[in-house]
Amino acid sequence: MTPERLQRILEGALMAAQRPLSVEELERLFEGDASRPERASIREALREIAESCQDRGYHLKEVGSGYRFQVDEELAPWVSRLWEEKPPRYSRALLETLALIAYRQPITRAEIEEVRGVAVSSHIIRTLTEREWIRVVGHKELPGRPALFGTTRGFLDYFNLKSLDELPTLAELRDLDQPARE
């Protein structure tokens, strides 16, 4: 077996394996063959392979359990776009909750629930809080001292508003004909 052929076989195996391969595993590829390469030749071939990738977009890397090919880190900005997720969409429940907080703040969860007719999940409140669109602005003097929610400056910034005044009034809302296209 020529050194070139040995390199090709090792290269093919390393690319097909989808996991790192140790020198022992690479040796076993030749089990049953008439002429089996020495371990030293395998190591030498790995060195040659590593060198031959110099100006490609990947390199041979030795990790704990063996050798594997890895795409160069500097290509990450492009490669990572393969796994880019589409942003999820917010539920109607979340948008309604946000709208109620914006228009009727300061407002308690119970008050939101009263208007919406259904319970407001903690998940929604948490999401809106983490997004820094709402915050607790106080507590209502009722048993349990429920939190009062209001919108934040971040909310205004996100929706490009100088102040809440710029939100359409209820009357304007009602006059809105068909909802604007998505």
Partner: protein, 288 residues
């Protein structure tokens, strides 16, 4: 192929000389092995199971004798076919109904061929034609399946070359919301509220609501705020009015309360409710 009975000599098909003896099938299965099967008796079961159906078995019978599909000696094929069916029964192989249907088809073709042909209906189709077409069509796909199996394929001949992606950090994108979406949500929820309750939703200046939040928030941060500190002169008259309305709304809703220790002393605003360190009568100056 010269020994193959021709179409127009149906009489010669009634008895196939070479197979006459083995046609008796009610005895020991092993003795029934057709002598030209060339497979060990104990492999017979496996062998019979490999047929993909009656068409496959028929094709086998035809090919084994190197017959032309287009010129099937129906009687001969029928007899052999029946023998295999009986073998399958003897071996208690699960016999698909399709095999029996095919036997009936063969018998029907045979019977039609035995009938004398009237000269005037010469353009009548050879009774075997439909069967031949099916056999040919089946054979094409039998071949196609083999060709498909011979194609280089993943896992067996083809291995994808892949490698570890570079280290990447993923940022989960946050959903985008348009202002129109928010408005629509609000309109919908109000529409629903109208339907479910008689709740009158009146027009309220939003700036007051916003200011209510802001006043509450500043109380939350500091515990109490001097009344005057809530106003910003730079906002002008309108700003002062909005803030004042907000404070009144908050007091009306029992969200805040004000305290004044004596006449002309500074007025403080604080969240409503019990306050440790404060005199709940509200007539002493707050500790500072």
């Amino acid at each position: 192929m010269s020994d193959v009975p021709s179409v127009l000599s149906p009489a010669s098909e009634c008895v196939g000389e070479d197979e006459a003896v083995t046609a008796r099938v009610r005895g020991e299965p092993l003795t029934l092995t057709p002598k030209d099967l060339y497979i060990p008796p104990d492999a017979l079961e496996v062998f019979l199971e490999t047929f993909e159906g009656p068409l496959d078995l028929l094709l086998y019978l035809i090919r084994r004798q190197n017959l032309d599909v287009l010129d099937i000696p129906i009687a001969e094929i029928t007899r052999q076919y029946m023998k295999y069916i009986e073998l399958m029964q003897e071996l208690r192989l699960e016999l698909a109904a399709e095999y029996l249907v095919m036997a009936a088809v063969l018998a029907e073709i045979k019977s039609r061929m035995l009938l004398p042909r009237a000269a005037e209906v010469e353009d009548e189709e050879d009774p075997r034609a439909a069967l031949v077409r099916r056999l040919q069509e089946y054979e094409r796909f039998k071949q196609a399946a083999e060709d498909l199996d011979d194609l280089a394929r993943l896992e067996r001949d083809i291995f994808m070359a892949a490698m570890e992606p570079p280290p990447m950090h993923h940022e989960k994108p946050l959903p985008d919301v348009g202002l129109d979406q928010l408005l629509r949500a609000f309109r919908e929820v109000l529409g629903r509220a109208d339907m479910f309750s008689h709740h009158q939703i009146q027009r309220e200046p939003l700036s007051v609501r916003e200011r209510m939040s802001r006043v509450l928030a500043s109380l939350g941060e500091r515990g109490h705020v001097e009344f005057c500190a809530l106003f910003t002169v730079e906002e002008g008259r309108r700003g002062v009015v909005v803030t004042f309305l907000a404070i009144l709304e908050l007091i009306k809703g029992h969200l805040v309360e004000w305290v004044q220790s004596e006449v002309y002393a500074p007025i403080y605003l604080r969240p409503a409710g019990p306050h440790p360190g404060w005199d709940d009568a509200g007539d002493t100056q707050p500790n500072t």
